[in-house]
């Protein structure tokens, strides 16, 4: 399948913005958190809300504990005259996918995608347990770190990684994050020092875990004349797919990610060389699984932003991967990149987006 057939209508990442990622934003409500991000994503390309034909957001009320927080968040955009709008109860990367599908239909030329994650307002161990099977699994409240630890243990037993490998991924990510002004956790700590940490849940030490992050992000998508108007050298989406695996953790081989591999194949990742990959691997060991599923060799620069180990605003971290990958192309540091987003326990759902410059 050719790239042209895969994405019949070229769509560009015209603009990307994200908030400062912080452990806890006590000062702002969701609208106040989003407004500067929306203003920036429009402002950098000199447009207003009236220049986009569609708005799609990704968030979940479970993080905030307030019903219809996704509707109230629209106050940050301004929806008069009445706007065409949608929302996914998923990471903003999937909201971007919905907007991209609508752009494929050809009736609109531009869309705003945004997401916000207040990870700090509730107990994430309890909240994330509720995305599991509600009858037999959720009532036992298995926390996400323990589930990730099961996956990491399986990976070690399969000979695919070691605790030192996990530490090396964490060390590299947070060192790279020193160059990312939006990062929450950035440091330069040797692997040997990291391995002296106690286990949180064996075999996972604290450094292999994502931080708890409050943050928001936004992207403007453009097609047709608008893509050229808003960028001298547009960053094009040339492949896009998402797949999911069964809800039943026990039925999956947690050491591989067939949904990522399938999405990567359908998105055409292997049809050219990849310069940069922004992978959404909240837990360090998951990068090993995802590298294999995406077919990335050692020449590929992975997560120069620091990835989700440097900042993990739930519902936004996947969208940020797409934005970061696009930014590398826009700045000329990369010509072809892959961005990945995940959702659900132990990489249950995965989205793969191939981006190319001109």
């Amino acid at each position: 399948m050719s790239a042209a057939r895969r994405t019949p209508r070229p769509v560009s990442i015209a603009s990307f913005a994200q908030s400062q990622n912080v452990r806890r934003d006590d000062e702002h409500n969701e609208v106040e958190m989003l407004m500067p991000v929306i203003a920036e994503v429009f402002g950098t390309i000199g447009i207003t809300k009236d220049d986009v034909d569609f708005i799609c957001s990704g968030s979940t009320d479970y993080l905030i504990g307030g019903p219809f927080s996704f509707v109230m968040a629209l106050d940050a955009v301004g929806v008069w005259p009445p706007r065409s709008e949608s929302h996914v109860e998923m990471d903003g990367a999937w909201a971007l996918y919905e907007a991209w599908v609508l752009l494929q239909e050809g009736e609109i030329d531009a869309a705003l995608v945004y997401s916000f994650g207040r990870s700090s307002l509730g107990n994430l161990n309890e909240i994330l347990a509720l995305q599991l099977d509600p009858y037999y699994l959720a009532p036992m409240w298995p926390d996400p770190v323990s589930l990730a630890a099961l996956q990491a243990r399986a990976l070690i037993d399969a000979g695919k990684g070691t605790e030192a490998d996990f530490a090396a991924i964490a060390a590299r990510s947070r060192k790279d994050a020193l160059a990312n002004p939006k990062a929450q956790v950035a440091n330069d700590i040797p692997v040997d020092t990291l391995l002296e940490d106690d286990y949180v849940v064996s075999p996972l030490r604290r450094h292999t875990l994502p931080p708890i992050t409050d943050g928001a992000a936004a992207v403007v998508l453009a097609a047709g004349d608008k893509a050229r108007q808003w960028a001298d050298k547009p960053v094009w989406i040339t492949g896009f797919d998402h797949r999911m695996e069964t809800h039943a953790l026990g039925a999956r081989d947690l050491t591989s990610s067939p949904s990522t591999a399938q999405a990567a194949e359908r998105a055409g990742v292997a049809e050219g060389s990849i310069d940069v990959a922004e992978i959404h691997a909240p837990y360090a060991h998951q990068e090993i699984i995802l590298r294999e599923a995406l077919g990335l060799d050692d020449t590929v620069t992975v997560n120069p932003s620091g990835g989700a180990l440097a900042a993990n605003p739930l519902m936004s971290a996947g969208l940020i991967r797409i934005g970061e990958a696009a930014a590398r192309i826009a700045s000329g540091q990369a010509r072809r990149a892959v961005a990945h987003a995940t959702s659900g326990p132990c990489l249950q759902q995965n989205l793969v987006c191939v981006l190319e410059g001109e």
Partner: protein, 170 residues
């Protein structure tokens, strides 16, 4: 085909209780904090949109029409107009007010957004749209940054407001 025997004759299980409770912190933000701090002082604080001029109470920090920050703080009057109402006759769990009672949308003078309040000191058959009302606050030492600081609204004796002054807010 043999009859299903898995339910030992008692039929399928139809109920499974899995109690769930989640606790959250609340972050009102800058704009709503100003509103809540106003309630603590016994006044209604709103914010004006610099683009369209509308005053929102409570403000969430943006103009939902224009999508711009609302930066001008506005102290609103203690009086307003009933734009619409309902008389509650239905008892429900947790009800703290004796039925029947009146639930009204009140448009405070100077505001462009009405909000819901309890209306008292008026027989339920005399409530009407356009009625002028005033807020009755709890005792000064009982004021908190919460809508509980407003005991209720009551008629303030002014003639009814002209329909055209509130028809945009129904």
């Amino acid at each position: 085909m043999a009859e299903e025997t898995t339910t030992d004759g008692r039929g399928p299980v139809t109920t499974l209780a899995t109690p769930i409770r989640l606790d959250f912190d609340f972050t009102p933000g800058i704009a709503q904090s100003k509103f809540l701090r106003g309630l603590e002082r016994g006044i209604f604080m709103g914010q004006r949109c610099g683009t369209c001029g509308k005053v929102y109470v409570p403000s969430r920090g943006s103009c939902p029409t224009d999508g711009v920050p609302t930066t001008e703080d506005v102290e609103l009057a203690n009086v307003g107009t009933v734009t619409t109402y309902c008389v509650v006759n239905v008892p429900f769990a947790g009800q703290s007010i004796e039925i029947p009672y009146i639930c009204a949308q009140v448009l405070l003078d100077g505001a462009n957004l009405s909000f819901m309040g309890l209306l008292q000191e008026v027989p339920t058959d005399q409530i009407r749209m356009g009625m002028r009302v005033e807020a009755v606050w709890v005792e000064p030492d009982q004021l908190t940054p919460s809508l509980a600081s407003v005991k209720y609204f009551r008629p303030n004796g002014e003639p009814d407001a002209d329909y055209k002054t509130y028809k945009e807010y129904l």
